[in-house]
Amino acid sequence: IVGGTPGNSPWTVSLRDRKGKHFCGGSLVNSKWVISTKQCFSSCYVDLTGYAAMMGTLFQNPKEGEPGKQTIPLNKIVCGPSESHLVLLQLETPAEFNERVSQICLPPERYIVQEGTVCEIAGWGETKGTGDESVLNVAQMQVQSNSECNKYFKGRVRDNEMCTTPFSGGVGACEKDYGGPLACQNSDCWVLEGVIIPMRRCGHPGQPNIFIRVSLYVDWIKKVMEM
């Protein structure tokens, strides 16, 4: 996260590869499923042996035995509808919800979140020198309408994507944040409105951030979890 500060995001998980290294983010949409982006995985049939989701800690490399840390192996990957760039990852055992770990809300199906809504992104990724990569960083931003956003991106932003406002100082997600959440406030709850996907630059001054619009795929998410 470029331009963020250490923060708390109990639904954000760190995806770990076979060497135990953090490589992407994800969000708990219930106790057994994490949503992330397909871009982080080599295929829809990747062998997930050795992969895991770590949660319940703010540290990228927590010490052994840190209280509250949960590391749960992944045992299934389901790719989302084409163009969604989403994947759902099943946890081998349910996550234990507590003050450190909770699930994020899903928006209504095909709902467009209001422009100006306060949101935040979270991740342990690259800060480009603007923060401490050893802890979870969070950055606030507001929803920007697609029509506004398309002025900057010359019409390339699609319906299944959404944007947040740019900052002159440059704020945004970067390497190893991909798959993480764009969580937006809804009274006293946080709703998963977007998923971070790779962009051409990180936290580029004046550039809006683009995310996959989760509300278009809530039906798929529920179907997978029910099936």
């Binding site: 703010l58 909770s102 480009k128 390497e175 991909y178 709850c189 946080w190 790779p198 039906d219 099936m227």
Partner: protein
């Protein structure tokens, strides 16, 4: 520090079954450890292999034969692993081959070998014994001859001749840096014996076979799971953790260069075959040239990894990372992924199209977008169906045709015949010019069990 298992080659989920005529020649040792079972077999004169059954109870069965086709046969048994003495199954030799116990019985010029027990046509002083392996007329090397395993020939004119058994290190050559080497060399370039990959002594390590199923980390054979320059192994020498192995390089153009799977404007899988010209990271930082060691020193010399396409400063994946990457030109950032390169679409061509959300689709496409054949709606394997002709009688769920009985907004789908993929969307696209409407902002929605955060937590946890 070597394990007795080093003498054995493991076949997972296999059991050696003796023929009826020698079925009584096995020895049962219930409840002993795998290591003990192997040790006792090595010490026993007529044990050449053993079944190690772990369910329903642990039983070590010593066997006088290996799988040679005529004395025993191998069967699938998930509750058992078969261990055969390497010297009896190996088709190549290590060193001068004094311990060769294969069944070759012809010399390099094709002459049939003389039986070792016989003194005709050539008299000699060798006498078979339970320990010297001079069995029937198989090639052997009882005197450590430089030429390797040999035998007396049945040609009166030629007393003895080498059998030309290949050296294991030459038997299989490696391309590039040998990542797909699956040969049987189990010693390092300095002659140290390799440690088994499924053991953590004398050296603890991360390359556990079950975590890297695609790397074939079998027994204690040299392998290259981490894109080192050549295959290597951990050694049984406590003072030397790991060492390279000496394996012949294939001559001529490395096969990989000819593979049509190279891509230039997108990448498949982990991107090992990406050969495009993107040369900056996702965050727009220029990559360092591969043949430079500044600002970052690294082991990925283009000439050492000749098959990895390490040209200029293009994003590449020489070491099996998650995606193409490069060393960056920023001193404070050593490497970065180039995830901005698109992934190649792995959907197959659409074979039909549907209107609106496809709820009324009645075509005959029966394949998913990844090309997997659909499961019949009326079947319950490999997937138990929650949606079927009984639950949705008027959804025309016939055969295994793609349908949309639940009005899925992403189009027709089906259960799949892939046990790992319950359902998937089909190789059908929306008819041109159609779009499913997006809702405008709805009334405020109330959430209760989710999205709650205790912001006071942050201060206490970071302290």
């Amino acid at each position: 520090h070597r394990s007795a298992l080093n003498d054995f080659q493991r076949s997972e989920g296999r059991e050696l079954v003796l023929k009826s005529w020698n079925a009584d020649r096995l020895t049962l040792l219930p409840g002993i450890t795998l290591e003990e079972c192997a040790k006792r077999c090595s010490q026993s004169l007529d044990c050449r292999a053993f079944n190690y059954e772990f369910r329903p109870s642990v039983i070590c069965k010593h066997l006088p034969w290996v799988d040679d086709g005529d004395n025993a046969e191998v069967k699938r048994n998930v509750n058992c692993d078969l261990y055969e003495m390497k010297v009896y199954v190996r088709k190549c030799i290590v060193g001068k081959g004094e311990d060769y116990r294969g069944k070759v019985s012809k010399t390099q010029s094709g002459k049939t070998c003389q039986q070792w027990w016989s003194k005709f046509p050539h008299d000699h002083r060798w006498t078979p014994s339970p320990t010297n392996g001079l069995e029937l007329n198989y090639c052997r090397n009882p005197d450590g001859d430089r030429i390797g395993p040999w035998c007396y020939t049945t040609d009166p004119e030629r007393r003895y001749e080498s059998c030309n058994i290949p050296l294991c290190k030459d038997e299989v050559c490696i391309n590039c840096n040998g990542e797909d080497y699956r040969g049987q060399v189990d010693h390092t370039v300095n002659g140290r014996e390799c440690q088994r990959w499924d053991q953590q002594y004398p050296h603890q390590h991360i390359y556990q076979p079950e975590k890297y199923p695609d790397k074939s980390l079998d027994d204690n054979y040299c392998r290259n799971p981490d894109a080192s320059p050549v295959p290597w192994c951990y050694t049984t020498d406590p003072d030397v953790e790991r060492e390279n192995c000496d394996i012949r390089k294939c001559s001529g153009i490395p096969k990989r260069r000819l593979r049509p799977s190279y891509t230039t404007n997108c990448f498949r899988g982990r991107g090992e075959d990406y050969r495009g010209k993107v040369n900056e990271t996702t965050s727009g930082i220029a990559c360092q040239k591969w043949d430079a060691q500044f600002p970052h020193e690294h082991p990925f010399y283009p000439h050492t990894y000749e098959c990895k396409g390490l040209e200029e400063n293009y994003c590449r994946n020489p070491d099996g990372s998650e995606a193409p990457w490069c060393f960056t030109s920023l001193p404070e950032m050593r490497t970065a992924l180039c995830l901005q390169i698109k992934r190649c679409a792995d959907d197959i061509e659409a074979e039909d199209c549907y209107h609106e959300n496809g709820k009324n689709y009645r075509g005959i496409v029966r394949k998913t977008r990844k090309g997997i054949i659909c499961q019949k709606w009326s079947a319950n394997t490999p997937h138990q169906t929650k949606i079927n002709p009984k639950t949705h009688p008027d959804a025309n769920l016939t055969e295994n045709y793609c349908r949309n009985p639940d009005g899925d907004l992403h189009g027709p789908w089906c259960y799949t015949t892939d046990p790992k993929t319950e359902f998937d969307y089909c190789a059908i696209k929306q008819c041109a010019g159609e779009k499913v409407p997006i809702m405008r902002p709805a009334e405020p929605v109330v959430f209760n069990e989710c999205g709650k955060r205790d912001d006071r937590m942050l201060k206490s946890r970071l302290r």
